[in-house]
Amino acid sequence: MSQIVKISKGANIKLTGTAEKVLGNIEMPTSFAVCPPNFHGLMPKLSVKTGDKVKAGSTLFFDKYNEQIKFTSPISGEVTEIIRGAKRKILEVKLKADAVLAYEQFVVSSASAADVKSALLISGLWPFVKQRPYDIVANPSDSPKAIHITGLDSSPMAADYEFLIHGQEDVFQAGLDVIAKLTAGKVHLNVNANAKSVFDSAKNVQINKISGPHPAGNVGIQVHHIDPVNKGEIVWVLKAPDVLAIGKLFKEGKYDASKVVALVGSKVSSPKYYKVLPGANIKEMFGNEINNGARVISGNVLSGDDVSIDGYIGFYDYQICAIPEGGEDEMFGWMAPGFNKFSLSKTFFSWMTPNKEYDLNTNMNGEERAFVVTGEYEKVFPMDILPVFLLKSMITEDIDAMEGLGVYEVAPEDFALCEYGCTSKIETQKIVRKALDLVKQECG
């Protein structure tokens, strides 16, 4: 029976530069890269070396600790360079694309769970399946108690998932059917209660209606309200557009990585949606659309990666943001009325104009301090968890306390709004990520 979830805590940050619902025309670039840092918690081992020829779907690297999980190329072409960072950590596997893409052919069968899993693993689509706890790529040998798919993205300037799925409902359904085989429990499709949903006709799933401000679109928040994760349980999570790629694999037998993303932000001349491939070089594709002085983010402004204009579209991301890079000191900024600033507190005037769109830059607007103000994290954290106490147990690396306070349910993105509104400018998401890695390492 479908559930109705109303999220009361949180906030929508309205920024200028949301994408118009039109699909723009763009040429595919030749420069691509698949970046292992996109996939947290993985120790990549290369399957290719510089100069190798690959097809779309060929394995580039795999996880050293779980060799079945393969990461494949989105395009056909040649491996041009492997970029390594400190301690020889692989940062990028750079590729040069052919003019016409050639695809690896996979023999896919959706007869049983094992067949589905092996198809997803060999084609490089498995990384779409992530898990709670720990917010990492799921382990195929686990049996999750449920699978949750979020059908909405509530982050600032988010892509409209319904626009992305529109017209491909049959592919989407094929993906859902296949995913349903992966668990003995339910597959939850969590959709926007307020929109006319393209998901209404989805079968084999339990459709739950979600309403409320950000972070209502975070799948972890949805899991918490519908069927929380307890110690020892595992839940697999995906985003609705990911299901399209899975559906295409099982319908066509190839890894067609193409996806629609939104190019947004106040530094974009004309924000729109574009059909791209993951790993595409942003400068080559959108160099003319993005103005100078921008910070280019793959993902949303709260949790995305600063890839710079020379970077590449991330595997998981459905939006690219270009916002003004700050850096200027502000005289008496802490006393000024600040009509251009959006604040979760009532010390600015933004609470009086809830529909106004703001053009925020990347300034910290202060310096890091100890925790002083109380109650501000709780206002934007819609889980039955004490966020500051959990965060403090993460800082002190107290694993027992973390377990007791709910570390198995959270992901860094759930704390993103808390970090946004933090008076003491604490790097919350970084602390959460480090703690999740610690608990995974110590507790399995």
Binding site: I13, L15, P156, N230, G232, V301, L302, S303, G304, D306, C321, G326, G327, D329, E330, M331, F332, G333, W334, M335, K341, F342, S343, L344, S345, K346, T347, F348, T362, N363, M364, N365, G366, E367, R369, A370, F371, V372, V373, T374, G375, E378, D384, I385, L386, V388, F389, G404, L405, G406, A416, E419, Y420, G421, C422, T423, S424, E427, Q429, K430
Partner: protein, 396 residues
Amino acid sequence: MKALNDFMQKMKPSDEGKFPIAWALWDGTYTFLFVPGHTNKNGVHVRDGIDLKRTMIMVVLAMIPALLFGMFNVGHQHLLAIGEVTRDMPVMEMFMDKFLFGALKVLPLVVVSYGVGLGIEFMFCAINKHGIHEGFLVSGMLIPLIMPVDVPLWMVAVATAFAVIIGKEVFGGTGMNIVNVALTARAFLFFAYPTKMSGDQVWINTSLNEGQQVVDGFSGATALGNAVEGGKSALDEMGASTLEAFIGFIPGSIGETSVIAIGIGAIILLLTNIASWRIMLSAIIGGLVMASIFNIVGDDGSYMAVPALHQLMLGGFAFGVVFMATDPVTASQTNQGKWVYGFMIGILGILIRVANPAYPEGVMLAILIANVSAPLIDHVVVQNNIKKRLKRVKTA
């Protein structure tokens, strides 16, 4: 603005220099004049405009009405004492004389408090090699407001030094203190110099110029002092009835007398969501409950029989509840804990005040006791949250 920025950059001492205090002073001035242009590196790419300085300046703003009223009241009480005005004359009579007299008495206290406090904080910054943090912006204003007007300046200096070093810096600075810094200063004076701080020596300034003399029958006691002796009738007689105590032209600490002025501050703090309404509300409820209990058991005409609402208007109750109890660092940090914490302050404040003959004002001690109990209250709330989660595992 650019010129000022360039000037400040030119003056910047090296942080490896011979005088770390020079760097600390420069950094403090620079971050006071400018919000630095640091950009976000790990995590969110955009951040809220609020920072700790803005939060603190709102609290200071909320204290200004109490400060201004206090200055005027100091002058008013002084002129009443020497007979230049009487209670029948309109209060605004001789406004400028009263205000200027009061300002000349209060401003030195503010200067000493900020000077000593900030000086010590800068020294700790130089030792620990970090920039100055904003905690003392508020405490520096709170300390003068809870002092009686005739307190010697050297005592305020010693008390502030004690409060900043032992009450705050030893624990790690802003955000790490266990007890309220301003109340630590007040409590220090209360226990270290009791004869000077109680009774009728310090509450009303009776310094006399040539030719002036104190009015016949003048006693420098505060309203609470009189109420202990004579109950409600004594209060009405001295001009501290419920309404008069609400408006605030009664003797007392500088900032604590006018519930109206404090109320304006409370509205500012509540509208900007800086102070917790849970603590304020539960403290008022606690105070009313305790005072009502005393009303029921007390004999007519005694201190206990002073009506509950009147009891809350007297002494430091309003000031303590609005500005001291709501200090986020020392209060309970969980929303549920805040109800218990505030209620405890209300109950204990009135209880100590009425039942204990040695302490005419109980709110200071009640808040200090509650500060120390806040971690325990939070612990209970956290344990409940943990148990709830554990139960889910068992039933799942």
